[in-house]
């Protein structure tokens, strides 16, 4: 697996990946739906898969002493690593926002554990749709990305829309609770607990979702004839 990951990083990595990772700086834009920055990470993953296809990665890998299942797992692990790097960078931006940004985000979810939790859910959705869809054929990266992107944007609209609505309808008990506990950095122990549980649940969802995506991808790619 180490050799396969080395192959992913040195042969399959698209140069624009670093530019897309840099878009985490969007978290410093005032009043912005920050989950949008995660979509660009999904975009970068798509470019890596597309570049791999164009460079004949499947046939090169076929010449190596690895099974198709191992090849798929390595690609999925690369996706996980890439998303994890983005989450670490997002956490850094959230920390930076304490001193660099005014509190409360009118554009959606504010910097905090809740933003990271929503990002994890976004990546789980993307992985669950994109990976099995791509490995059904082993080459249709475009349609797999389109399906994944639709799922991601639906989630962005729901999550960010919910937070905008909570700010707009602050007097409504449910939204007030949501805003106080989920939006911005938590001020109380209860709010920390709620965000902590939210983040933990999202982390679990991301892990289980990606494992399921990997399992389905392996199953589907086993049926594909490498041409």
């Amino acid at each position: 697996m180490k050799a396969l990951l080395n192959k992913e990083l040195r042969l399959c990595m698209h140069p624009t990946v670093f530019i897309y990772l840099g878009l985490v700086l969007m978290l410093l834009i005032p009043n912005y739906p920050y989950l949008v920055s995660c979509f660009f990470v999904c975009n970068a993953i798509f470019f890596v898969f597309q570049q791999s296809r164009e460079n004949g990665d499947a046939l090169y890998t076929a010449m190596l002493p690895v099974s198709k299942a191992q090849a798929v797992r390595a690609k999925c692990l690369f996706v996980v690593l890439f998303e994890a790097v983005d989450l670490v960078l997002m956490a850094g931006m959230c920390a930076l926002s304490i001193v660099a940004m005014p509190p409360h985000n009118a554009g959606g979810t504010d910097h905090g554990l809740s933003l990271l939790a929503f990002a994890l859910v976004l990546f789980a959705i993307f992985n669950l749709i994109f990976l099995p869809s791509f490995y059904k054929s082993g080459y249709k990266a475009g349609s797999a990305f389109l399906k994944g992107a639709i799922g991601v944007w639906i989630w962005i609209v729901i999550a960010e829309g919910m937070m905008i609505a909570s700010a707009a309808a602050g007097s409504v008990p449910f939204f007030r609770f949501l805003q106080e506990t989920v939006d911005c950095f938590p001020q109380t122990k209860a709010a920390w607990t709620v965000q902590g549980i939210l983040f933990g649940a999202a982390l679990l969802l991301w892990a289980l979702g990606t494992l399921l995506a990997m399992h389905l991808s392996v199953q589907r790619y086993e049926k594909v004839d490498v041409q």
Partner: protein, 287 residues
């Protein structure tokens, strides 16, 4: 001992069927796998390596089930699928460095020797290489991890005659120790005349024969005669070409022995393949 044993391989595609393909490769030998374009050579090779899922059959490598022990078996197999056309903007040195990490038995000295022998500059990028040089790079990678079996799909396509000859010499050197073998698919039959110990001939997804190279050639004779003799021998001819002065064709050895009024010559592999592949058994020079 058989290093590779393929038994009853089947694969159904719309419009093409790999039909009950069986053959074996002995240790210390070169097996030429011949057939025209689209005959099923690459599909067979990919099915052997589980890259294409066979509908049925089995493949044993050194006695063990290759599909069940894929990773372990594949470490001892060197595979070349045509010329190297992957990652065109990467340097040879980068690709080699990535590849070597998959093989515990990677022989760096041998790899460097092969680079020098093939005049390959490791700092060049793949897209800076000619077709022939790409094939050579592919072979250098495949030969550098002490593979017991080399499976080469059209390895000499795109190579100049001198490089091809050089490569065939390398193949002979590889199998000299009796422990290494080569399965070599090609439609450049002259290459096999020079180096193959055995021939497996596939036509339309079916194995026509799998035998040693001498028996393969000895099973047929090239015959020629006058136009009026053609009608008499038409049924015995595997294939023939009619021309203004008569005909030339291919006939099974035993039939040729009885055709005492025809001119008879030993058959070469290329003639056997050409006459066997004629769709309707014959071709007229006037057509």
């Amino acid at each position: 001992m058989n290093i590779l044993q393929v038994e009853h391989l089947n694969k159904q595609y719309p419009g093409f069927r790999l039909d009950d393909v069986s053959f074996s490769v002995e240790e210390g030998s070169i097996m030429g796998f011949i057939g025209r374009n689209g005959a099923g050579k690459t599909t067979t090779i990919k099915s052997i390596l589980n890259l294409v899922h066979a509908d049925g059959g089995s493949v044993r490598f050194l006695g063990s089930d290759l599909w069940a022990n894929e990773t372990a078996c594949r470490k001892q197999i060197g595979l070349v699928l045509g010329m190297f056309s992957y990652y065109p903007r990467k340097k040879l040195s980068t690709i080699a460095d990535v590849t070597r990490r998959f093989y515990a038995d990677w022989d760096e000295d041998l790899y460097q020797q092969l680079l020098r022998r093939f005049s390959l500059d490791p700092e060049k990028k793949i897209n800076e290489l000619s077709q022939g040089m790409r094939v050579k790079f592919s072979l250098a990678l495949a030969l550098s991890h002490d593979a017991r079996l080399l499976i080469l799909d059209e390895p000499t396509s795109g190579l100049d005659p001198v490089s091809r000859d050089e490569l065939l010499d390398i193949f002979r050197t590889i199998i000299e120790d009796g422990a290494h073998s080569i399965l070599f698919s090609t439609h450049i039959i002259s290459d096999l005349e020079k180096c193959a110990d055995y021939i497996t001939y596939i036509k339309g997804g079916k194995i026509l024969c799998s035998t040693d190279a001498e028996s393969f050639k000895d099973a047929y004779r090239l015959v020629s005669g006058e136009a009026e003799q053609l009608e008499r021998y038409r049924k015995q001819l595997v294939g023939y070409r009619a021309h203004a002065f008569g005909f030339t064709g291919l006939m099974p050895r035993d039939d040729a022995a009885r055709a005492t009024d025809l001119k008879i010559a030993p058959a070469d592999m290329e003639s056997i393949m050409i006459y066997t592949e004629k769709e309707d058994g014959h071709e007229s020079a006037a057509e």
